[in-house]
């Protein structure tokens, strides 16, 4: 960011353009086939649910789609008193 940008009025069209380019790159890759991130989310939760009782309220799944990578953040609270199921 240069000092000049402070004086320049921020235009919205370039932002629109960038947001679209990122979004469509992802959508083109996922539409038609199933969404990889959705599959990962389902399977990760299934694996954990096999061993511990998961409270749906205590699960937080966040996704951030960037230009080059997507990050999937799965945050699950496991209570200390949990009864570990026999595998």
């Amino acid at each position: 960011m240069s000092i000049f940008s402070l004086f320049r009025k921020q235009n919205s069209a370039p932002t629109a353009r960038e947001r679209l380019q990122v979004l469509l790159a992802h959508e083109r890759a996922s539409v038609g086939q199933s969404d990889l991130v959705a599959i990962l989310r389902e399977e990760i939760l299934a694996v954990i649910a096999k061993h511990v009782e998961i409270d749906d309220e205590k699960v937080s799944v966040k996704m951030e789609r960037g230009e080059h990578v997507t990050t999937l953040e799965v945050d699950i609270e496991i209570p200390v008193t949990v009864t570990v199921r026999a595998a």
Partner: protein, 271 residues
Amino acid sequence: MAKVVVVTSGKGGVGKTTSSAALGAALAQRGEKTVVVDFDVGLRNLDLVMGAERRVVYDIVNVIQGDAKLPQALIRDKRLETLFLLPASQTRDKDSLTAEGVEQVMNDLKRHFDWIICDSPAGIERGATLAMRHADVAVVVTNPEVSSVRDSDRIIGLLDSKTEKAELGERMEKHLLLTRYDAVRAERGDMLKVDDVLEILSIPLLGIVPESMDVLKASNIGAPVTLADSRSAPALAYLDAARRLAGETVPMTIPGEKRGLLGKIFGRRAA
């Protein structure tokens, strides 16, 4: 040989019906026999935009169900004898439009017309997929706005996979019609530019229709834009787009609202 054109967009309210009526009329004004078919079953509006709402007796569903013959359902335009309309029905039963029925109607229309313009409903449901099913050419109507561009991208994907042409392994010819464009706002950096949209969607440009009061005026009086005032900026854009659709090479311009002095004096009287 009839050419089947689908006017589609995914998103609603971007100008599919306006564009279908205007392109249909523009092609008919060239003397080519044209029919505009409304596929928006349940929410028909092409009849209203073309000023034929009081003349609808039968519709496409009546033809498909065998309650009426195709010539009975076709409405000839009162201003242009080469322009016809096949209205949609107002039934709420969406399944009344069957794939076999639509195919039969399209085959019959192909025998009698030079151009068949299919006005697609919004969305990606049955009506929209049936409207694009038999098309040779697609006109993707897009506004320079993020949600419209995203939906157009989705529709382009469907055109390349869910149409007869795509299933036969042929290439569907697709064109972008950019509507409601405001050159001043684009220049100021507050609206996506023509090149931005073209780069994102990467399909060739058919025309740029400027944002204009004349579009609302035309629908108010029930006339396709090109017939309401053939010298208005959007009319010029649609007339040029129709010529390109017919294979002519026309330099791309963004028709402005400017008129010469004589145009100002006489143009108002005509409106």
